[in-house]
Symmetry: C2
Amino acid sequence: MAEPDFTAVEAAAARLAPVAVRTPLLEHPALNALTCGRLLLKAEPLQRTGSFKFRGAYNALSQQPGRPVVAYSSGNHAQGVAAAAALLGVPATIVMPADAPAIKRANTEALGARVQLYDRYRESREALATTLAETTGAVLVKPYDDPAVIAGQGTIGLELAAQAKALGVVPDAVLICCGGGGLSAGCGLALRHLLPACELYAVEPAGFDDTARSLAAGERLANAPGASSICDALLAPQPGRLTFALNQRQLTGGLVVDDAAVAEAMRLAFRHLKLVLEPGGAVALAAALSGRLPTAGRTIGVVLSGGNVDPDLYARILNERPDDNST
Amino acid sequence: MAEPDFTAVEAAAARLAPVAVRTPLLEHPALNALTCGRLLLKAEPLQRTGSFKFRGAYNALSQQPGRPVVAYSSGNHAQGVAAAAALLGVPATIVMPADAPAIKRANTEALGARVQLYDRYRESREALATTLAETTGAVLVKPYDDPAVIAGQGTIGLELAAQAKALGVVPDAVLICCGGGGLSAGCGLALRHLLPACELYAVEPAGFDDTARSLAAGERLANAPGASSICDALLAPQPGRLTFALNQRQLTGGLVVDDAAVAEAMRLAFRHLKLVLEPGGAVALAAALSGRLPTAGRTIGVVLSGGNVDPDLYARILNERPDDNST
């Protein structure tokens, strides 16, 4: 696969302009105060389908007009592909784990896609989807290790840089949530070009820090089996081949946050931003708020990547009182 | 009191431009499908302090520089005044009911204001605040019946009209939540001028439909005592004198929604918009989604006015399953 470059991100932005939301860059005095710095928050829960995944899916699909599409996804890529297929008038089939959040499955079906369930622990979604694509003549749009998908996600970096510039500020660092690494690879393409001195970090949930460890080791490492996390969107087994090559060249490093820090970031987004974040969409904010990097006196860009969380989990997290506040 | 006019709204917009958020106008295919029309949603939960109230408070206070301020409010005006006072460097004292939502009191205090509690059922907040202002030489900024406050809230109407125009659409109707009537009066000033053919409706919670009944009767009527509603932000006893004069001239009429419709609108905003709405901030959306006016084939502007809701109430509403969906 050919690596995408900055020009590919610009081309993706032109394709997405008529259909994607240019999401706002939010800021809140209370979150700034908590970090003794300035957080600029890219609000992708306000994107079509409630996460950034629509960008990459539409960029990929719009370059293969008229063909049906197959994808595998735990949920956000599923919705992104389903929405893109609906806009482009092609049928979509999504291979989803049977234990995906109900809201993600329901929204995918509501967008007109056919959902085929599989057992996350016993079946290979890649094999299922590849067979399905081959037997039906469909395009397979991978969730992250695909040049067009990476370029589409990179449009977030383009927008973030332009929006920061409009505010007259230059971010010292940008934090990007990381599952398979497509968002960080794409944002890296945009931000390395536009903000060459800016530190760029992939942020992962504890137990799924394959990118952080791979970046440190200089080679692709997999996660140990058996880990669990509330961040259902970020449970990729190991970095993608293409995404890792880009991330290795472009990123400053990887940061890791635990579920408690993620839940607290979700509560602070509820209280101050009035924005619903799903766990995987909150890891970058969690890193900024829990001291994973120096924030005092600095301007930090933070990608809030999605808000597709089931109401019962969200309600449970809102009702939790973290230990350190209970006294 | 002199009535504000369209020029006053434009002047307010100029004062607010450096400090207020120009909140996005959101849209979602699923909500459009539910109404067989098009909903354009003005997202004031993303405003500074989490509600539209900052606009009017800052517009009023910035015209009286250097003087301390007193206000009475169940919470959103409190936060608006506290934030405006902090930006302008003047001390603020807010008279709040003892049973105001904890998040509103905590956020008001976090903004540096002094909070003085009163008993909603036994004391007059107007009298308390007036005495406090007189004895301390402070400015009293009323929550709605004030020309500068009305003009400030009207900037939402200016923005909504401009954002709709940028989309190439002309709203057939605009729905505006209504407590004392300041937001609808101010938006009316802007929208009557910019969109003369557009229907304008105040939306109120059942039991607190004083403006709807007053508009129908042609005179100011009070609410019967003893009613209750989850819409804590919209429990004004009767229309303001100034706001009613404007609303009577500018509005098409009043619409009324019950708590169940409000809760369902909050759940749909969670699911699709990823935006936290407080009950009072969801009444206009509830009216659009529950058939309070014809929506099929029409474009309806909806002001989502605030998102300051306590996490336990929000969690309870998310976990409710409405009867008609349980089978």
